[in-house]
């Protein structure tokens, strides 16, 4: 439970949710709008710690399904200190620009300076450094609906008050079926798979948070965040079929930054309330230096990030009956049938009977090849 001013909003939204149940919800296609200007989107954080500062420049794009995000390439991006220091960032690609900047000069406010190839120039406001206090713990509770994960922190100096979190998830999993055989399409012949070099059975899935997680202790007598909810791992899901890990990153926010993030959350995640909250204009702290009407999306913060990683393994949870809908199909051992199966994207999982194979067993690619949804590289932090 967030414990801040928007607690009421959440309650209202939750109760609205109650009422909406007998109601009905259909997908809605908005009217086509094509003459919409593209706006610059600036995302990132000036990192005072050991990690790199990464700033990503992209553009807004149309609502039509065919529209896609485009990066701002070859821009000149730098971080400028109020002490006239200039710390350039280098282009990494796909609109990202980065450098390792920390530690920054204590007490100096910094800003972001962007010059695009089209000659537009953008500056953020000078932002004071706000370093996050360490995360006390990340803990979890198992309930009928799954596993709820919470974060706890506090600032003994009572200075932080406003927090934001994001996270990266990693989980170990196995493909439901093994495969030692593979169809060579050139002559439709089943051959043995190179199972020492091509590992498709044991993988790690990586995911990152897609929602905004905010917390505030502004209404409490001490700067303490208790059981701020992050996510719920759905019951019996693949996430804890073997072992699961979450890395929580904690940012400290200024009151203004918190308000901006909160508005972003209200405008894009907490919509649909029965009372109909109007979207609000949400101006960030980055501006076009010449055109004040140019909308720039993003809010730049400066400070350190605190992280905490926890692991949850299958034997720590109860009744985790992970089942897939993967099944094996029996394919008659002739070239036509095998080719049709191959064209359908199936992989061979076995053969029968022995020694004269009359049938092969196959299954959908994703049920066999875990690299399609994960990586077969064991992460360095994995136990």
């Amino acid at each position: 439970m967030r414990k801040n001013m928007d607690i009421f909003l959440i309650l209202v939204v939750a109760m609205a949710g109650l009422l909406l149940m007998p109601a009905c919800r259909q997908t809605y296609d908005p009217p086509a709008i094509s003459n919409q200007a593209q706006h610059l989107v600036v995302e990132g954080f000036i990192n005072n710690g050991g990690d790199s500062t990464i700033i990503t420049l992209t553009h807004t794009y149309l609502l039509q399904a065919t529209a896609e995000v485009t990066p701002e390439l070859h821009a000149t991006v730098s971080v400028e200190g109020k002490d006239n220091s200039v710390l350039p960032l280098v282009e990494i690609g796909k609109g990202s620009y980065g450098a390792s900047l920390g530690p920054l000069t204590p007490g100096v406010p910094y800003r972001l300076h962007i010059k695009t190839t089209s000659g537009k120039e953008y500056l953020s406001d000078y932002v004071s450094q706000k370093n996050a206090p360490p995360i006390d713990s990340v803990n979890w509770i198992q309930s009928d609906t799954g596993i709820r994960i919470f974060v706890n922190t506090h600032d003994p100096l009572n200075n932080t008050r406003y927090y934001r979190w994001d996270y990266q998830e990693t989980w170990e999993f196995f493909s439901p079926f093994t495969s030692d055989l593979i169809l060579r399409p050139s002559d439709t012949t089943v051959i043995g798979r190179d199972s020492t070099n091509v590992l498709i059975f044991h993988c790690w899935h990586h995911d990152q948070s897609t929602a905004i997680f905010l917390g505030s202790s502004a209404r409490l007598s001490t700067d303490l965040i208790s059981l701020a909810p992050l996510l719920t791992i759905p019951a019996a899901s693949q996430q804890i079929s073997v072992e699961y890990s979450i890395l929580v990153r904690q940012y400290a926010l200024s009151a203004e930054a918190y308000a901006w993030w909160q508005n972003l959350q209200k405008n894009t995640e907490l919509t649909g309330s029965i009372f109909g909250i109007q979207p609000t204009i949400n101006n960030g702290n980055i501006h076009n230096t010449t055109d004040t009407n140019d909308v720039v999306i993003g809010y730049i913060g400066v400070g350190t990030v605190q992280t905490k990683r926890i692991f949850i393994s299958r034997d720590q949870v109860s009744n985790w009956h992970y089942l897939t809908d993967c099944e094996e199909y029996s394919i008659v051992n002739n070239k036509d049938s095998l080719y049709v199966s191959y064209e359908r994207g199936e992989l061979i999982t076995g053969k029968a009977p022995y020694p004269d194979t009359t049938h092969y067993y196959t299954s959908t690619k994703t049920c066999v090849d875990c690299t399609l949804t994960g990586s077969n590289q064991k992460p360095s932090y994995w136990p």
């Binding site: 439970m1 414990k3 001013m5 009421f8 309650l11 209202v12 939750a14 109760m15 609205a16 109650l18 009422l19 909406l20 149940m21 109601a23 009905c24 919800r25 259909q26 997908t27 809605y28 908005p30 009217p31 919409q36 593209q38 706006h39 995302e43 992209t58 807004t60 794009y61 609502l63 995000v69 009928d144 609906t145 994001d166 897609t210 929602a211 905004i212 209404r219 409490l220 007598s221 001490t222 208790s226 059981l227 909160q262 508005n263 972003l264 209200k266 894009t268 919509t271 649909g272 029965i274 009372f275 109909g276 909250i277 109007q278 979207p279 204009i281 949400n282 101006n283 909308v295 999306i297």
Partner: protein
Amino acid sequence: MRYLFLATLLLAFSCRALAQQTGDLPLATTLPRITGHFIGFKWSDFARQIELRSASGTAPLHFYYDSTQLDSLTVTINVQDLRLDSLLEQLFKATAFHYAMDENGHIFISKGWIIQPSLPVGFFGGREDTDSHGSSAATGNAAAAGISMNVGTARKGLAALNQANRLYEIGVRTNKLLPGKAVITGYVKNLRTGEPLAGVAISSDRPAISTVTDQYGYYAINLPRGDHVLTVQGIGMRDTKYQVMLYTDGQLEINLREQIVTLREVIVSSVKTANVNRVQLGVERLNIQTIKQVPTVMGEADILRVVLTLPGVKTVGEASTGLNVRGGSADQNLILFNDATIYNPSHFFGLFSAFNPEVVKDVQLYKSSIPAKYGGRVSSVVDISGREGNKKEFSGTAGIGLITSRLTLEGPIVKDKTSFILGGRTTYANWLLNLLPDEYKNSRGSFNDLNLSVSHQLNKNNNLYFSGYLSNDKYNLNSDTTYGYGNKNLTLKWKHTFSSKTTGTLTTGIDHYQYNITSDRNPVNGFKMNYAIGQIYGKADFTWYFNARHTIEYGLSSIRHNLRPGSYEPYNDQSLAATQVIPTEQALESAAYLSDNYTVTDKLAIIAGLRYSLYDYLGPHTENIYAPGLPVTEANQVAARTYGRGKVINTYQGPEYRLSLRYAFTGEFSVKAGYNSLRQYSHMLSNTTAMSPTDVWKMSDPNIKPQLGDQVSLGFYKNFKANTIETSIEVYYKRLKNYLDYRSGATLILNPTIERDVLNSRGKAYGVEFMIKKQTGALNGWISYTWSRTFLRTDDPTAGESVNKGRYYPADFDIPNDVTMVGNLKINHRLSFSLNMLYYTGRPITLPVSRYIYAGSERVLYSDRNAYRIPDYFRTDFSMNIDGNHKIHQKTHNSWTIGVYNLTGRKNPYSVYFVSENGLVNGYKLSIFGSIIPFVNFNIRF
């Protein structure tokens, strides 16, 4: 009915008693001679005086008369040594009364015919009846037969007790009609229940003058002295005519019979001309019978939902009972229930209105000409009158519907003097919540409301009324977050008739609304949040029926506002929640008004009203002072000044004009024009489209100016088919000032410096409303079409922030086209069908124009506010009302209502929204009642 019959019988008996008096006229010489100065004596007192004076003499006199005939007769005569027969002669000259005497000193007063104290000679076959000791108790067939020849016609008329055949003499009788006019006053009541009837029209045909009873059933009509036929008409009541002879100011009690108790009666409706004759514009009255006929969701008769079908009244959607009247916002309506201000008129977050239909008499909506006695809100007044209990006998109703059960009890405490009505509703809506997903399975929701009204007649000139209202809503989400809200209202009224020309009402009461949110899910964060708004008020309203041309209304009112704008406290000892209490707010809002209803000619009438309101924002309070001409921000705060208890922090005041004019070209066609200005000193802070129970109110203070509104309107009214079909066209243009909007991301709850988060807006609204209405007959209802627009504009040069760059933009409730049909067809007295059809343009909405990626997910960027619209709305509802049989002498009467809400099952969008889910943007169209919803309701009356 039974009473009438009994009365008729009594009359017949008294006739019989009179009939058997026999004998010759007493010797004139034995009659007493009277000297006296009688002024304004009731006939009965006068007769007693004469009887007393003669009692000591040789021939004691006794008067025999029908007191119902003579109760309105007053004796004013100055006599000097005049013999009684001459006196009576003089007294009854030029009246319908006659007197007769027998030799035993019995004097019979009759009306319309002459009593012959002796039978004609030879009546009984030549034998003379010489019974000289007839007494009123003795009866005899022969005597009865004898008199019947004379009274025959009269009896027939009396048996029907048709008031039209009875002449009511009003005032102090004078031998000669005085020139000029006089006032008839009195109450109109329901004959069966004794309940006063409001909105009943009393009109005289020649000259055409009419008046309407007020909410207490009181009326006053100013007519030229002389004889008149008064036509009395109330909806649902039988039209009645009264023959009156008006001498001087006097009283006339009118009892009306209900129309429904009779079967197969041909209803002849004549002058239903209220809409044409009324001077005001934009006034709609709905009685509860009409409201109950209109099918609503889940079959709950819903007062505000029916008000919403009237032209000029809009709402942002099905989940809101917030009324937007002619471009006004939901907080700009003064919602009165028996004079009590109801801050939140809804249950279940706005799905149902908070008024129990069983205790409501009618609803009056003022959307244009707002009488000067009302103030404090800039858009409209919704005046809901509760019923008074049955003054004759105990009765009650009970009902079962899908959402609520209701029980109403009423009856006399002292018969014909004091009555009560007690109504309660409770819900069992938990079954609705059981349809929810598992994570809400411990949720509970409920609401209830309770009404009690007591009315007491101290005497003819003094009436007392008490009314209490209590509503409660409570929700328990997953058994750790409780949420509750409720209204509490008490009203005490004293209505006093000073004279036949002046009446006054003294009203005092307390209104209160509160909500609370409690959370104890996480002991560290557990909190209790409370909010309350209340007012204590007193007002005195007077009506002075100055003469036939002028009715003056004047009065004073004062409201003491008390707000506790929020407190936030730890739930228990474990909680670290820091207590925050927003300082209380106090204000005193006073007003005086004067209004003249001036009938210039039969055709032209004017109501000119002036209300002057004075508002003081009071301490204790610390007021932030900001640099003038700069945005109201923390940086621009220059000082803070603390004021002590009761100290005036600042004052706002100003006049409000209420002007309307009617010119009746004919009795069936009139044109009206009006101008109204209003001031509102309280603001509801809400940045949601629909009203929410957690919306808070803010009083005007040095940084937040009062809302101002004014409106000009013009209307054309024409009736057809003997006034059974009413049509009207009304056009209006309205302006609003100092309407509050909010900065981006403003926090409205628990914000001690709310002035930094508001933006002043200006509004304009205009439109035209067409309406065709048929109130009577087997087929009744109305069809209306409204075209209207409402625009707002941020009007705050120093704000540094504006909505849509300070341009006019359509308000959330800007619904240009609106077609409504409400119809009811009575097949017979036990079966009727109702059908609603509604179509309106979709409301404006802010839609996204593009997407972007941020914080791991696609998100949307919004367009200008309200630049798009949700799809149009169309709905049809149907219901069938089945009454049990109409036999009067059965213990209970029951009725069923079966119906279907949203007959076509159209998925009418309530809102359209975009949400980022699992990294992607999804657009949804949300319908509140997006399917066919059948309902059934059972009611029992006992």
